[in-house]
Symmetry: C2
Subunit: 147 residues, 2 copies
């Protein structure tokens, strides 16, 4: 151990906005592990650059990972997320491929619209429960402002 800040220059950015990220930077930012990010790459959801053997993530890579995490929060499988990401990468010259992608996009929209209703219904249920429980506790002299 030494006194004073021991800085790893690969991680330190001296005030200048950088356009690349290490795997552990992104992991920390999104609250996941490097292992998880590598797994996403194994599954074909990402394809970061390399500096020798180490992975280097660009800003678009980071945006892509953000979409993956959002998809996960919505309960999608990695296969579904991959298909969603592929919609962005559809080749405009391949009419057939594009037409199929459009069809899939519309299906996803319909599915998400139902999910939107599900969320709103569940929220309504929970808010009803919350009010009932808060009232009940108030009537019995307990505070409802959490610990």
């Amino acid at each position: 151990m030494s006194i004073g800040p021991t800085i790893d220059l690969r991680t330190a950015e001296g005030g200048s906005a950088d356009d690349t990220f290490t795997i552990s930077e992104l992991a920390a930012e999104f609250g996941i592990t490097p292992r998880t990010i590598r797994f996403y790459e194994d599954e074909g959801l990402m394809a970061p650059g390399r500096a020798g053997t180490a992975r280097v993530y660009s800003r678009p890579d980071r945006a892509r990972l953000m979409l993956i995490c959002r998809g996960k929060r919505l309960g999608f499988s990695l296969a579904e997320i991959k298909e969603f990401l592929d919609l962005y990468d559809t080749d405009p010259d391949q009419i057939g491929q594009m037409s199929y992608a459009l069809k899939r996009a519309r299906q996803r929209i319909a599915s998400l619209e139902r999910q939107l209703l599900d969320v709103q219904e569940t929220l309504a249920d929970l808010r009803e429960i919350e009010t009932a429980m808060a009232d009940h506790l108030k009537a019995h002299g307990a505070d409802t402002t959490d610990a």
Copy 2:
């Protein structure tokens, strides 16, 4: 094979509204398998009545299963769904338990509010993609009204 309707009397209801359901009736209604419903019972999410050895589902049982399926569509694990269902069953006389349940309910509400935003963002993304792809296809003489 015979001609005419072969009716299983356990399943047939002669016009009268019944208050009970068989496992396969519910499975068909919710698009799942009987195995799945039995698994939910094994995990403590349901506790239907019995007629001898066979399970008999009441209307509240059916409502409970509906909540489970909605939770699944939202991407919740069975453990999370169980905790959600337990909120309904909280004993009003146990102040401590009720207070904890209220806290959990509020956490779930906050989580769902973020999920609501996620859904809306993803929907916005997909609609943008859909418009772009539809325009592109239209400009290239393909119809966008699906096959």
